[in-house]
């Protein structure tokens, strides 16, 4: 065991100690932080289940889980499948031929539609599995044997906002809990000093739909994602916005605690008041633990180098990948990484712009996979990569029709996503598109299928993970049947 690993394990131990330091009743209620529990799913177990599902305490899954935490690398914008993971020789052979009439209904911007366009990238096979990856991703291509690629994803809308709502929450529109919210609702958290669902957004800006990407919808707000900023104060209002002597701060804290204890004594039987006191204690601990989790100075120079931290263009995303690992180590259940809006949305200049997107993310993601594996965390962590849709085989031309500046428009009928880690059979190539890469044709995977598979790996049955909302059973996967993608499971 290396030195730093030892420190980690001690720290984790310490945090668990702190967590159990609160008196049992108060903690139980703090974690059961919602009143009016009848709104939540009452299962056969009745009220017991009711109370369990309103807190963040770790709870057993429906069946043995293959992974117990998730790192979701969300790639907003629609990464181009035929330029990254799904080579199409047909496009080389038919480059320049028009096919607009056949696909007019599938083009978001028909006035800029061009002819069939070959990929500007070179493909080669990699790893034991022989996965095809383009030269835009030299680092990831070394990790293909840990990854299961699904080439046959499809969705139902070809505009960013609705498609992002769909991939995050299963439904075209805001207001539904996201996959992260469902996960922490179903499983709680291993760590009570940090939020169960942490979002690492890009200082350069939020993705499409902004904070709605980590909403809890009709689940209690307890289950929504909490933004951690990778620089500055990690959480809003974590530190005071005004200066006061430390002794005054301490005096005030003591006064609040004494007043609240007195108030509690006058209200016997109101366990919510114990929880209130505990929430103030937790707030104080969070100030320490959040700061600690984000302190990358505790990492070795080699680690920082591997993630590309300290140099352009990988520094920003590299930091978030490394912080993701540190959060997972501390027991955070669901970590979601974002890049600023639309870096994959290559409507123009695909040769240059797609490369730029890869250059920012390729090395950090590959490093994250290696690092997790090396630390034995990959077996229990599910890493998920993907965007909201794919791109078209035809060119999209700028106003001056200059083909050198061509890009690709959105495609809802085919895209490629991947999973790695806990429960995933590495080196799998699943599903296929037609010769153009226009439609997923073989082993098609819908977004609900994808969600059901994620939940399945976490030991959750998508049919059983529901809440009663206004008397109705609401689920991530909706009312239509969803299927587990057995072919990518270990």
């Amino acid at each position: 065991m290396s030195n730093s690993e030892q420190t980690q394990s001690t720290r984790r131990h310490w945090m668990q100690g702190v967590a159990s330091g609160i008196t049992g009743a108060a903690l139980a209620h703090l974690l059961a932080a919602e009143s009016g529990g009848t709104r939540l799913a009452a299962t056969e177990k009745g009220i017991e289940a009711d109370k369990r599902w309103q807190d963040l305490q770790s709870r057993p899954p429906h069946f043995p889980a293959r992974a117990n935490s998730v790192i979701h690398l969300f790639q907003n914008g629609g990464p181009s499948q035929m330029d990254l993971f799904d080579p199409k020789p047909y496009l080389d052979a038919h480059h320049g031929q028009s096919m607009f009439d056949k696909i007019a209904g599938e083009v978001e911007n028909p006035f800029s539609a061009g002819a069939i366009m070959r990929s500007p990238f070179k493909f080669a096979q990699h790893g034991q599995c022989g996965m095809w990856v383009s030269d835009a991703m030299p680092h990831l291509s070394k990790r293909v044997d840990d990854i299961a690629f699904v080439r046959s994803m499809y969705t139902t809308n070809l505009t960013h906002e609705p498609a992002v709502y769909i991939i995050q929450s299963g439904k075209m529109g805001p207001g539904r809990p996201t996959i992260g919210a469902w996960t922490v609702y179903g499983l709680g958290s291993e760590c009570q000093d940090l939020p169960a669902y942490v979002v690492l957004d890009d200082p350069l800006g939020l993705p499409v739909n902004g904070v709605e990407n980590w909403q809890a919808g009709f689940l209690p707000p307890l289950f929504q994602g909490t933004r951690f900023r990778s620089s500055g104060s990690p959480v809003l209002n974590l530190r005071p916005d005004f200066d006061r002597p430390e002794e005054v701060v301490q005096q005030e804290r003591d006064l609040i605690a004494s007043l609240d204890r007195l108030h509690k004594l006058q209200h016997p039987g109101q366990s919510v008041l114990d929880a209130r006191i505990a929430s103030y204690e937790l707030a104080a601990r969070m100030q320490l633990s959040a700061t600690d989790a984000l302190d990358l100075s505790q990492e070795s120079a080699d680690t920082l180098e591997a993630y590309g931290i300290g140099r352009a263009p990988t520094d920003s995303y590299g930091r978030r990948c490394l912080i993701a690992r540190r959060l997972i180590e501390r027991g955070v259940r669901f970590v979601q990484l974002y890049i600023n809006v639309h870096i994959w949305d290559t409507h123009t200049n695909i040769a240059a712009d797609l490369k730029t997107a890869c250059d920012r993310t390729d090395q950090p993601i590959a490093a994250l996979l290696s690092d997790l594996k090396q630390r034995g965390l990959l077996d229990t962590t599910l890493v998920v990569w993907g965007g909201e849709f794919g791109r078209l085989p035809i060119a999209q031309l700028p106003a001056d029709k200059d083909e050198r500046k061509a890009g690709r428009d959105h495609n809802k009928n085919a895209f490629c996503s991947w999973m790695a880690g806990g429960g995933i059979r590495g080196g799998t190539i699943y599903g296929a598109t037609d010769e153009l890469g226009l439609h997923a044709v073989e082993d098609r995977v819908s977004v609900p299928d994808w969600h059901a598979t994620m939940l399945h790996l976490l030991g959750l049955d998508h049919e059983q993970l529901y809440v009663l909302e206004n008397g109705l059973k609401e689920k991530l996967t909706g009312v239509n049947p969803a299927r587990i993608i057995e072919g990518i499971l270990a």
Binding site: L30, A33, E34, G36, T38, A104, G105, E108, N109, P110, F111, T159, H160, E161, P162, G173, P174, G175, G210, V211, E212, G217, P221, L222, T226, S233, V235, L236, N237, P240, D241, P245, E247, V248, Q251, E252, D254, L255, I256, L259, D260, L262, H263, K264, H267, P268, G269, Q270, V272, L273, I277, S279, Y280, A283, M286, V341, N470, G471, L472, V479
Partner: protein, 916 residues
């Protein structure tokens, strides 16, 4: 594929005209069963298959019960399919829904009834042998009109008729346009319509997006051609059929589908002395049944604080408190309640619950550019005023559902306050998140989402029904067949028409917008007084500018004057355009899969002879359909089984913590049954009897002994009534976001009490912290602060302000660490603590015990107890000493800072956040 072919199978069953409006709405099915005589021999099913259907299926899928709208009782029924579409695909068992359901064991539902492999084989073989021609019927206009509507009418429809061509109806198609008739019956290849489509000239690919339509599919072209070749047949309209009460899909027995029956208030055998009013007569016996009685009455201070927060969302001011505590007369409590009900703060509080239910927001949402709704705030003000004036609830609903059909505003000589209110009220149906102003999110499915949200808000919020379930399939729990959803949609078609869509107002520079842009959602009919005031303001500016025009160096002055101009006042509204598109059931909710034509109607399960749904033009000569007015009148009929019940249940919830029906928006079978059904019915009847007076119901509830109980909970209550469903005490309530914020303003003396008008803007920091902007007098109540969907005040976000997507029937009540972080570390909270301290210093000077007493009185409506006083004095003395250690702080400043810290602690105390 399937969706297209089923249009072919559907042919004979749609026999209604597009314009037929029946008085009641069950005619569609009756028509389909009676109008066309079907030659059954054409659809023969082999005996072996028929035997299987008889044995396994027709118990539910017969021509009466028609589960899922499907009957397997005859060949013709079978080929019609059900609400999910065609039951079989000729020749293709793998593509046939019926085969799939049987194979998967989904049907029959009973496991013991499942078909054997051999039996499944018999059905598969038969499906394989069926030829397409066997199942196809002659086409009529209902097979082609939906195609024309979705592919052609943006440019050849109501608002635009390029080449003078209208393609909305079969007659109009025959009439044709500039180049003559669009079709030649019997000869599709000679028909211009088909020629233009086949040559790919129409619809023009390059202009699809600007019109928010998709290209026509080859199968659709084929259907059009076949209809023409078969002679362009139009089925005759069906006459209105009377509504039978025997629709097998509709079970009216459930309690909430029948009107509340008058009942006598039960006599009390025990504890009669505790009862103040009839409410207690229903509550006390239920408590006795579980071995409990009402908790003791709370003291006056507690009651004053509870009542003030309940009715106004603010604590009692010290003077008001003194008035009540010092009133020795009987009825002092009742008078205190009346004073609160008369306060303008009452409407500001209770409007909030309604706005949550309606899904109020100041922006459209759903798109990255969160398009502002410039005039939504008028609806907010309307709701506040309606509560303050105790507008009768039935009138309140009628205005919101059909305000545009109440008075002829277009020819009114003067726009009165009443007409203005009518129109502003219709904003209720415009609250759903809406991306349709942009061409790429303005397609028919996007519009249908907006309509579905509006139906959901209306259904769950006002009617207590989960209508949204029936959009794609018949309701799984309630007797709401899919057609009832589309009947309801058809009521609103005059205003919410996916084929004549009025898009949200667009402002320059916001992005690509559609050419298929109709009007915008603003009406100019503000009150004549407001309009004149605005016009006068503009003329004054014009005059000043004119006077400056010729003077040298007046440019800057002119510019300054120009900037004083305000936009023309307008109302964010919804109105009937007349001449709505026909409504077809969309199978599985898919507009590409139109089923039967329906006409406007109310849910059959709520139908009774006594409740009329009578569609008439709202006034002679009006182009408006009058459908929503008919609906609003039906909904607010005193005998309506749901309206009053749903409304009083919501009032009850906000006073007592949980509804008598806990699922506020679901009074159906999947909802929670009422804990006190008689009480609910008695209250509903009382509500109607009082002239739908909301304030009367507040009075009734708040003067009950049940309401006046203390909130202390003992072991017996915890054991026998753990969830307080028998109301054995009052709940201890956490202040919600608005009450907490407004109360901080009030105690700090920073509450700017001005009313109405455009929302207060937010100041947003780079890290996302969003804080309401101040005014010269302080800060306005949160209800007046901007509520854009994508940027919400951090305070609201921390304290469970809901996402209005589309609405919120019941807020959460969470308790999480970020709330503590916010209250302890946020700058605005600290500054309010400082103002609070300043106020105390102004009122009582700087003596410690006086400050502590005053602070308690202002923040907690009471004096401190001995322990609190001891703790507080020690802390305040210590704080003074600690603050004065800094050499740069003089003693007066140290005393002020110490009091600020103390006040900050009080704002952070549980006693401040929780109300007994």
């Amino acid at each position: 594929m399937r969706s297209m072919q089923l249009i072919i199978y559907w042919a004979t069953c749609c026999a209604l005209s597009l314009t037929a409006i029946s008085l009641v709405a069950a005619d569609d099915l009756a028509a389909s069963n009676n109008q066309n005589t079907v030659d059954e021999s054409q659809f023969a099913i082999p005996p072996a298959v028929e035997k299987l259907f008889q044995a396994k299926c027709v118990r539910c899928h017969n021509s009466d019960a028609r589960k899922g709208e499907l009957s397997l009782a005859s060949g013709s029924d079978l080929f019609k399919g059900g609400e999910s579409g065609a039951s079989i695909m000729p020749g293709q068992p793998d593509e046939s829904l019926l085969v799939e359901k049987i194979r998967q064991g989904e049907m029959p539902p009973d496991k013991n009834e499942h078909l054997s492999a051999m039996e499944i084989g018999i059905i598969e073989n038969w499906v394989r042998s069926v030829s397409a021609s066997e199942s196809s019927k002659p086409l009529d206009q209902h097979d082609v009109v939906p195609i024309l509507l979705r592919r052609c009418t943006p440019c050849h429809g109501r608002y635009r008729q390029e080449a003078k061509l209208d393609l909305r109806t079969a007659d109009a198609v025959l009439r044709g346009g500039k180049s003559g008739p669009a079709i030649v019956p019997g000869k599709s290849s000679d028909s211009l319509l088909i020629q233009k489509i086949r040559s790919r000239e129409m619809p023009p690919h390059q202009r699809l997006v600007e019109a928010s339509i998709k290209p026509i599919e080859p199968l659709e072209t084929e259907t059009l051609a076949r209809w023409i070749d078969q002679g362009a047949v139009q089925s005759p309209p069906a006459g209105p059929t009377s509504l039978g009460s025997s629709d097998p899909l509709v079970d009216r027995e459930f309690w909430s589908f029948n009107k509340p029956q008058p009942l006598t208030v039960p006599q009390l055998e025990h504890h009669a002395d505790r009862a103040y009013n009839p409410i207690d007569h229903f509550v006390i016996p239920k408590l006795a049944e579980v071995g409990l009685e009402l908790a003791p009455e709370a003291d006056r201070v507690t009651l004053a604080r509870r009542a003030a927060f309940d009715l106004t969302g603010l604590p009692p001011e010290p003077e008001a408190l003194r008035e009540y505590l010092g009133d020795p007369q009987p009825m002092a409590y009742e008078r205190m309640i009346d004073r609160l009900l008369d306060s303008p703060h009452y409407g500001q509080r209770w409007a909030r619950y309604w706005l949550d239910m309606a899904g109020y927001a100041d922006s459209e949402g759903k798109r990255e550019q969160d398009l502002p709704r410039q005039n939504a705030w008028r609806y907010r003000d309307y709701v506040i005023e309606a509560f303050n004036k105790d507008k009768p609830f039935d009138r309140f609903l009628r205005e919101q559902i059909a305000g545009d059909e109440l008075v002829d505003y277009e020819s009114a000589p003067e726009i009165t306050q009443e007409i203005y209110d009518n129109l502003v009220a219709t904003g209720f149906l415009r609250m759903a998140p809406d991306p349709t102003w942009a061409n790429i999110t303005g397609y028919v499915p996007d519009r249908l989402e907006v309509m579905a949200d509006a139906m959901d808000v209306l259904g769950s919020g006002v009617m207590g029904l989960t209508f949204k379930c029936a959009r794609c399939h018949s309701h799984k729990f309630d007797p709401l067949p899919q057609r009832d959803y589309y009947r309801l949609v058809d009521i609103f078609k005059g205003a919410l028409d996916e084929y004549n869509w009025i898009r949200p107002e667009i402002h320059p520079g916001i992005g690509p917008v559609s050419q298929d842009f109709i009007g915008g959602r603003s009406l100019p009919f503000v009150t004549t007084a407001e309009r004149r005031a605005w016009e006068n303001g503009q003329s004054a500016i014009d005059a000043q500018i004119a006077a400056l025009k010729d003077k040298p160096d007046s440019q800057a002055q002119i510019k300054a004057l120009e900037s004083q101009r305000t936009p023309e006042p307008a109302i964010h509204a919804l109105w009937d355009q007349g001449d709505p598109s026909p409504t077809y059931i969309y199978r599985r909710g898919d507009p590409l899969s139109p089923g039967q034509l329906v006409s406007p109607g109310v849910p059959l399960m709520l139908f009774s002879e006594a409740l009329s749904f009578d569609v008439q033009p709202p006034w002679p000569g009006s182009k408006k359909t009058g459908r929503r007015l008919a609906f609003a009148n039906w909904l607010t009929d005193p005998d309506h089984p749901l309206t009053a019940r749903v409304a009083v249940n919501r009032l009850w919830k906000h006073h007592f913590g949980t509804g008598i029906v806990k699922t506020l928006g679901n009074f159906g079978k999947a909802g929670t049954p009422p804990t006190h059904p008689e009480l609910l019915d008695w209250l509903a009847i009382e509500f109607v009897r009082s002239g739908w007076s909301t304030k009367a119901i507040h009075r009734l509830m708040m003067t009950s002994a049940t309401y006046r109980q203390q909130s202390q909970v003992g072991p017996q209550q915890l054991k026998l009534d753990p969830d307080n469903q028998f109301y054995s005490r009052m709940p201890l309530v956490r202040l919600d976001a608005e009450a907490l914020y407004d109360t901080m303003l009030m105690v700090a003396g920073k509450l700017d009490d001005s009313v109405s008008g455009p929302p207060v803007k937010l100041a947003v920091q780079a890290d996302g912290l969003a804080t309401p902007m101040g005014t010269q007098r302080g800060y306005r109540r949160l209800i007046y602060v901007q509520q854009q969907r994508k940027i919400v005040a951090t305070h609201l976000e921390n304290f469970d302000y809901p996402q209005m997507n589309p609405n919120c029937l019941e807020r959460r009540d969470s308790l999480v660490a970020p709330q503590a972080l916010y209250m302890l570390n946020n700058k605005m909270v600290y500054e309010l603590a400082e103002s609070f301290a300043q106020r105390i210093e102004n009122e009582v000077g700087d003596e410690v015990s006086g400050q502590i007493d005053r602070a308690h009185l202002i923040a907690l409506s009471r004096t401190p107890g001995d322990e609190e006083r001891k703790l507080s004095s020690a802390a305040l003395e210590r704080l003074r000493e600690q603050w004065s250690r800094d050499p740069s702080t003089d003693s007066a400043k140290a005393r002020h800072l110490a009091l600020t810290t103390y006040c900050h602690a009080l704002l952070n105390s549980a006693a401040f956040l929780y109300v007994d």
